[in-house]
Amino acid sequence: MIKLQRAFVTGVQRAESREDLYPYLQNAIELEHATIPPYLTAMFSLKPSNAGIARLIGTIVRQEMLHMTIAANVLNAIGGHPQTNKPEFIPKYPGPLPMSIGGTGFEVGIAAFSKPLLETVFMKIEEPEHPIPVKRALAAAPDQYATIGEFYEAIMAKIRALGDRIFVPAAVERQVLTWFPRDQLYPITNVETACSSLEIIVLQGEGTNTDPMLHPGDPAHYYKFGEIVAGRRIVKRGTGWAYAGEPIPYDEGGVYPMKANPTLAGFPRGSQARTRAEQFAYNYTSLLNALQRAFNGEPAHIDVVIGLMYDLKVMAVALMSTPLWDGNGMNAGPCYEYVTALSAAES
């Protein structure tokens, strides 16, 4: 069961003012962001022959972006200021997720797509509080940990307790409200809209206790990853569920041979890989800088973020096509590092 340090849940429960909630909503933004680099990398690493799987992961990535935006909008709605433009905003990969998500020893890295990666890492991140059995049972979490769902439930409970008075009337102008369906991303003005938005995060990630589907044919993240691992879509079987639907073909050769957990420092200075990795990191940093503006009073700036996002994909593909000449046939990969100055390129 996915778990985070219970201290974060109890911290939320002890909040007495909207200001007390700010750090926890910032935690939520960081948490939702933290899964994007690993998911994106897995998606980027798939060649066109695996476009079907890439598309499925893409829907998950987009929802994580939605979740990050919702968390930022809620923080804005109660007068807080999201911050995305600092080195600490990006988790260290491989390393623990924010709030020790996943428990002691659970680390998330940057790696090319593989079914074991989805099964042992991504599904663990997205694991619901009470997974609906679709094949196998799962171990229970120790008491010192809570689930992501519990964390958001605690925030919702606190928002309800503090009431509509914590919402800042003019804050709607600071909220990002484009690029996602209107029924999923809408102005947050009161307890009701804040809680229904946060509910979307939990629902899309974990599903409900009784139904893995968000909509017919559209399962929650955990089950969507499960589908890819099983190689079949999830379908209802009697009273339960099974990965027994339409096949999801997987071409094992259709993955770039990316060396896991690339870092800028790990590529030789002056190498093609280093130059391209720096370009990627620079662009990623630019994206976080642009996001900072979008989340802090210039919501139209989200269009610039989207432009950077698309450039990022192209750069990632270029990077993953760049040989390391390491004797193992491996290629370079994206470095999610916050850079302020590029190091030396040599000829």
Binding site: N289, R293, G307, Y310, D311, M315, A341, L342, A345, S347
Partner: protein, 637 residues
């Protein structure tokens, strides 16, 4: 004020130009004849050339302030001014700039679009930052003498301005303070030289080249894309504008009477050994002023014929990086120089032995010169644009001078990539037809300030589709002073390149198969990095899925780095049609095709081109074609 004024910052480092190379061959625009192998990497003839998955990104890489000039002093270590060693970077909050050819049939005016330039010292993210006004390179020449296979041995320079310049923070730098004070608020002049560009995918320098440049004050009355001054023009063979007769290329000087200094820009005029090993030692070079103005191109002079203004210091270690090739020659103590400098020709000389000196380059005959400020135009159907000419005589405005203007397509056209046969064959379209596609006066006369505006109008409805499978038409327009001393050496790159867009009439019913798919398929063919990894533009479902991002990108202004198409070669009317279709109902499921009328290609003779081994691609191929054409037509400069 221009980049030849003081104070100046000089920078040095690398640039990346990750250009896509499939669109270097105009014949690949023919969707009906396109083959999958045109998208594959190829270092010989055919295929997708040396970077088929290029993104178009242009950016600075590891550029640092390596020198500065203030009050006549050259600064190059941090103890002299903290600006030395600071990092010159691009945008840190939006997509990087893009480098794009005007057209496959005009690859010699590649423009940088949407780039920001930012000076940072780590503590302040932008001591200044500004938007680079899109500009094309000029003065392309065979500067690199040797190098690895597939090196781009041609070099060029970019001259432009930074707009919307904002200053932040305080670096306690006298140079920066003086620069901020000297320049027009919100503006800076910027000039840089690019060379040593690598096209071999197996070397680290792949898609990278060297850059050295200058940032200096700008005044809004000055042209933006060149410095008005003394024009030292290299003699060029009639059929090859890239090979100066004596190995030194044209450059500009500026005489500052108040400071009694001649400032000369050698940044793009001295040959380099190879990509990485600096300037070729071509012997002692002197800048001099002739005591008597010549009436023809000189090959040698004697000691009594000139006043020596000083040695060009290009052989000093670090000189090029620390100065970007710009050197000041104080003439106050040169006997007699001040008296004759205003109207006597400048020359670069090399001692030949005894009292004799070789003349490598000399100022234009009579000191006269004309340049169009911006020389690349994109015109919508019916649109009137124009250029501003600046005529000068020994650097002073030339008032009342007639400038002759006429069609000249010598430097444009061809396939862009040689004439290797394709299967199926594709005709290379003619440029410059219909001849009345753009209209302009045959003569303009300079007024006060030596300037004249030439209006250039695309005819209503545009040029039609004279090139068949590729939109728009290219027009080359030559210009020159009507009265030019006999025997003058002119810069063959001083002409105007106009892309006149075709008109797309908005159909009442825009359909995928009828209008949109053919456009997108061509786009997808030419930019596989996008079509294979972002949006498969040839597939209806993929386009529908990504309609939001396509709407954003097609709707962005041309100056935005994310503007689509990246090549900036699509007419507004076509983009409007695409945007209208993207706004439409777009049912799920591929609609049925309807029979489309194929465009008709025009027949055009293509000159036989002997491409040199190893230089069969990109700009080299484009130039070799140009040379073949010039030789065929017996063109005289």
């Amino acid at each position: 004020m221009s980049y030849l004024d003081s104070p100046r910052l000089h920078f040095s480092g690398f640039f990346q130009a990750d250009v896509s190379t499939i669109n270097n061959d105009v014949r690949y625009y023919d969707v009906a004849a396109f083959q999958p192998e045109y998208q594959t990497l190829s270092l010989g003839d055919g295929g997708g050339s040396w970077n088929p998955t290029g993104t178009g990104v242009f950016r600075f890489v590891n550029c640092q302030i390596t020198g500065a000039a203030l009050h006549g002093k050259t600064l190059y270590v941090q103890s002299q001014d903290p600006v030395i060693g600071m990092s010159l970077q691009n945008a840190d909050g939006r997509a990087p700039g893009k480098l794009v050819d005007l057209d496959p049939q005009q690859q010699a005016v590649s423009q940088i679009w949407g780039m920001q330039v930012r000076l940072t010292n780590g503590r302040f993210r932008a001591l200044f930052e500004g938007d680079y006004l899109h500009a094309a390179f000029i003065n392309l020449w065979q500067r690199q003498q040797s190098g690895v296979l597939a090196d781009q041995k041609l070099a060029a320079c970019y001259t432009s301005v930074l707009e919307n310049v904002q200053w932040n923070g305080d670096a306690d730098s006298p140079v920066l303070a003086a620069l901020a004070k000297a320049t027009e608020p919100g503006w800076l002049a910027i000039d840089f030289n690019v060379f040593g560009y690598g096209r071999d995918p197996t070397i680290p320098r792949y898609t990278l080249g060297h850059i050295v440049g200058t940032i200096a004050p700008y005044h809004r009355t000055e042209p933006r894309h060149f410095a008005v001054g003394r024009q030292i023009a290299a003699p060029l063979p009639a059929d090859n504008p890239t090979a100066p007769a004596h190995g030194v290329y044209s450059f500009t000087c500026k005489v500052d009477r108040a400071r009694q200094v001649v400032t000369a820009d050698f940044g793009n005029s001295l040959p380099i050994i190879d990509a990485n090993r600096g300037l070729v030692d071509i012997g002692t070079l002197l800048l001099g002023v002739l005591k008597q103005n010549p009436t023809a191109l000189l090959t040698s002079v004697t000691l009594n014929d000139f006043i020596n203004l000083g040695q060009v210091l290009y052989r000093q270690t670090g000189w090029y990086q620390q100065t970007a090739g710009i050197q000041e020659f104080p003439y106050g103590s040169s006997d007699g120089a001040a008296a004759i400098l205003d109207d006597h020709a400048l020359v670069v000389l090399r001692p030949h032995g005894g009292d004799t000196f070789d003349v490598l380059v000399q100022e234009t005959l009579g000191g006269v010169y004309v340049r169009a400020d911006d020389y690349v135009l994109r015109l919508e159907p019916g649109e009137t644009g124009g250029v501003d000419f600046h005529a000068s005589c020994y650097g002073q405005p030339l008032v009342g001078a007639a400038i002759s203007v006429a069609a000249n397509n010598d430097m444009i056209g061809g396939s862009g990539a040689g004439n290797n046969p394709l299967d199926p064959p594709v005709v290379v379209p003619d440029v410059g037809i219909p001849t009345d596609g753009v209209r302009y006066a045959a003569t303009v006369t300079t007024g006060a300030g030596g300037t004249a505006h030439l209006a250039i109008a695309s005819r209503p409805g545009g040029p039609g589709w004279p090139r068949g499978y590729i939109e728009g038409q290219l027009y080359g327009i030559g210009y020159q002073l009507a009265e030019l001393p006999a025997g003058s050496s002119v810069n063959a790159w001083n002409f105007l390149s106009v892309l006149a867009y075709s008109q797309t009439d908005m159909p009442s019913d825009i359909t995928w198969h009828g209008e949109i798919q053919p456009i997108f398929e061509q786009f997808g063919n030419l930019y596989p990095i996008m079509s294979k990894h972002l949006v498969d533009l040839s597939k209806y479902e993929s386009v529908v899925e990504h309609r939001a991002i396509l709407k954003l990108a097609f709707g962005l202004p041309r100056t935005d780095p994310n503007h689509m198409p990246v090549t900036r070669d699509m007419a507004s009317s076509m983009r409007d049609m695409i945007l209208k279709w993207l706004d439409g109902p777009m049912p799920r499921g591929t609609p049925a095709p309807r029979v489309a009328v194929p465009p008709t290609a025009v027949a055009a003779p293509s000159p036989a081109v002997q491409l040199e081994p190893n230089q069969t691609q990109g700009k080299s191929a484009f130039l070799l074609e140009t040379q073949a054409r010039l030789a065929q037509r017996g063109r005289k400069p």
